[in-house]
Assembly symmetry: D3
Homo-oligomer: 243 residues x 6
């Protein structure tokens, strides 16, 4: 840690922002969660539809897919609405795909029957870490949705696997920092997102040298801190679910 | 009122659902309001951008425009996301235009300077009356945004006009009912939306015989009830604004 | 009526423009009508397709839908072609939906069999009142199309209901004027469109205070004048149909 | 000519359908023409806009461009509206480009000043030959529009060149036929469209062996007949223009 | 030939550029050919899909369709990528349709079974004549694909017809020139594309007076030269196929 | 390494496929490279445009952006063309963004002047590793384009930084394998893409447990093998560039 470095919000380098997970945020979807990482707030819902996409038909398996989006007023400067532009931005596509891959690691599709779970992660307020908050909240919404499916008796097995959570780590002014808010994210030298389960195994890692390269040692330091963060988030998920 | 008619939620025929208006719902827009009409919840924000669209340039006047949208998980059955479809539905367009017209009646564009106010009404949960809740909440977000503009000293005059609010009235099983939830709305014979100010003057009325025609007397009965509803909503707006 | 007010075209305040309804304007659709309200000219066609949209399948009922559009050269200043822009404007969507709702009130879908009637209202020349002319002309095209269906023996019942017609009323310089041409429409304080049947019952009303609010009395004055206009239009429809 | 061949409409092999050219069909565009080749009817308009596209800016020259489209109800079976599909069909693009090229041969862009002429050819009723009728009618609309420009004093020179007209020729059951209606066009072995001026020089030829190849002799026979047709159309254009 | 005229690349007026046809250019499609006309290089592939489009279903016949496109870096100035623009340019549509028509003349669809052959002509480098190179190369890819189909035993008959090839001819500075490179094409007075078989019969001709009209004699001169070019190209096709 | 494991193509676990880098593959772009990793072939071009996007204007810096795409016939089963679908797939967007980020790490934008380098990576044939081949080839195209810029005297400084290369590693049947072809990629348990420079510093890492999670040890094993691959690719880049 560099001598003079202080995080703007006073946190320790390896400290998460305040995490809040509110279940039952809305009533219509099978699972509906508001997840907050500090000022970042994402509404994560899990809806269930009978049937599966064509490439899964007659496989006896289910499917899970995800869409991520920002409300136009979520950011400091309002952004044009993607539906009005008529096309989705690359960043949106990229994060939707990441969320889908991450959560498919938390579900045993062979136990789901030919049902599709559609996750929607809509960012109400953005202050960095929207993709990691989305993944972390979506797991809880997924758990609630699967409980609904089991109650209805449409899934005979146990599709839900162990929790996965996600967090960002970055190098800011030479310091490895956990859970970057927008202010740090926008000037970080390196940005790493990690999706992990409670055993410390990786579902996905994505690291980018936004303003500089990073060495193997720095990667290891970041992974250590990320693991600490993911473990704490998984505790928060379990607490929210009453496990 | 027909003998046996009872509203499912136990309300009187001319009674509003519980109305809640929460200011400061998010931090980034100049105005941000969560408005609730019963289970209908809409996030209404007002963002300010310097400059005006081309058709207003060099007019010395400002502009106000609005976009309405539903989150895909807002409805009982999840709806496809409009950004992914690549086009906006007619219903969405129609309501966006209605909200814009209604709120332009609440602002004196000549006092706004060459600034644009962008309203966003994003429905988090839909249970009927999303367009009227949007208009009612948007006024409060607009008021907050204009206060911000005045604090910044960018508007010399007083652009904010008297409150406008909106409510739906319908004829359900022959009874004139105020503020229809989805269950009533979907089977109403007639559906009327009224946008009104505190003097009982109309900004807009839209009445449709969805499953039947309606006569002049029925229209008058509906307008009486709508006026009662709008006046109560305007009181709620004023209370929320501390006026 | 204000002292000095004179309509540019010399009409009385409650006088329609010259109305012309030409049946059999083109040969291919089952019904094809050119309707003219003064200089406004709309080609209204009704085409019949076997089958119904998904949400009506196996209902035993038919469906009716409408599309409204302006030719790019219909207006004083040429407008970009919507097909080239790749998207339909909100105004176009809004009017298409209005025309569809209005004409569904003129047909008993349960008597139509599982057939779809597609109305197309293409504005050849625009001088105000294009949506009301569209509705008025579309009824005649619909009547012709249903006669064709009955001749072919594909509809056993009688799907055609009583005529509906539509007219605009506005307040211009404080005067309630019937059937506004573009010049009046663009400066009207209030604009009201009324869709009505021969009994004086409403199918739809849409009133907007474009440049000012309007009170209950003004609404009533406008509705009186609108009723006169609609009754005259229904006479014109009947005359065109030889009823 | 094969022994038993009779055209369904009784015409001679080298005879045009009845041609009607109606100027001033609508009032708003600088030039507006209804052209009819038998049952084919196209509304051709020429609108004038100040300025030129980017690639012509500061060239001192003008530009001319064209858009062709079919109304959805123009054909026997109603076709989906291109604006609703969100994209233009290849055939539409192809014909728009052909019309633009053909009419640019009838105007001296260097005499036009930095103005753009926008031609719109909207097919009201289609019975074969819509592209050739479009070109033929568009010349007359162009002539009227240029006269307007000259009256306004915005073009100092004489941009209008000699008339161009277009006609289709085909081989049907082995017979070279002029001006094919839909019934012949759909079963023709060869289809040739010719755009020509009064000196018999070609602006464009497009010949396609739709259901078979064609030799040099057949091409020559078709060109002879096409020339006869174009000369007659140019006479009709001149008569319409009072030249 | 005008006295002083010299082609920039030293060719005779009626001489083709160097033609190279490379079969098996890529491995995945049933047919894959790189065709080069001088510096113009097009990758032509033929892929086979089971089944036919709706309008051919249950006809017992096959179908053939084509798509032409330019890589964004194919031209001297990079062009925007059509997939990113969200729509295909008119020129692209026009050429795709031409290639499809041309190659359908080289296949007997009734002998193909209910299979679809999809041709893709992707221009890697553009120096004029991309559409004629596409057609010429696509025939060879088609021949290879049909051979694959026959080997697999899915086509009982002989769908492949005699070769078709295509070439451009133009009038440059008054001289009829064969196979125009970009430099000549961009300043040609007249541009003619001819698709022809080995008997000298036409599949398609498209001639345009880009910067001037052309008479019957000029057309005949151009057709003579085009025939020479097509015959040579057909020899090159046969040589490539080892016929 | 599991006892019985043999790679289908006989390679060692940590062995690259044959790498070929062909400079000057096409003539028009400033840099044009064909890169081959075994059967994967990508055409990588670098085009230079004056000026920069809006968000970089007046910064004195340049910009670099990238687009990745597959030709429809590149894959075993032909894929629909994205330009015809009217929208770009999420995977395409994701890879385009990755390539852009990776190559921006190889250029000093402050030395580029206000110029934009547009990279295009078009996959001619896909057999796994298309994104890593794209990055590796794009560096060489970038180097050539910058040399052109320097020759033209438009960049005073030295924008080109040290080479970056990219490679995939995966775990297949429990074995860490370098440079996966499609057959291995489609059944890998874990898939990791690494972008690295010659000092072994990371530009980007992306690891996904496609069919299972992965631990820290496995990550380390994969990173070791990836480093070996990247170093060899950087040698190949240098050899191609004659460094």
């Amino acid at each position: 840690m560099t001598e003079s470095f202080q995080r703007a919000d006073g946190r320790e380098l390896d400290q998460l922002r305040a995490v809040r997970i509110t279940r039952g945020f809305t009533d219509n979807p099978a699972g509906s969660v508001l997840v907050e990482f500090g000022n970042t707030r994402v509404m994560c819902t899990a809806s269930v539809e009978e049937g599966v996409p064509r490439f899964k038909r007659d496989s006896g398996e289910g499917w899970l897919t995800a869409e991520y989006a920002m409300l136009p007023s979520a950011t400091h400067e309002r952004m044009p609405r993607e539906s009005m532009r008529g096309k989705v931005k690359g960043r949106t596509h990229e994060i939707s795909r990441l969320v889908g891959r991450a959560l498919r690691a938390a579900v045993d599709l062979s136990q789901l029957g030919e049902n599709t779970i559609q996750l929607d992660c809509d960012v109400l307020q953005a202050d960095g870490g929207t993709r990691t908050a989305s993944i972390t909240g979506a797991y809880v919404a997924l758990a609630d949705a699967i409980a609904v499916l089991k109650d209805r008796g449409v899934v005979p097995g146990e599709p839900l696997l162990d929790p996965v959570a996600a967090i960002s780590v970055g190098i800011v002014d030479g310091n490895v920092c956990l859970d970057l808010p927008y202010e740090e994210d926008s000037r970080a030298e390196v940005d790493l997102n990690v999706v992990m389960n409670a055993s410390g195994n990786f579902v996905e890692i994505q690291g980018t040298g936004e303003n500089g390269l990073f060495g193997r040692d720095e990667l290891n330091d970041m992974l250590d801190v990320a693991q600490k963060g993911c473990f704490e988030l998984i505790e928060a998920q379990k607490a929210a679910l009453g496990w």
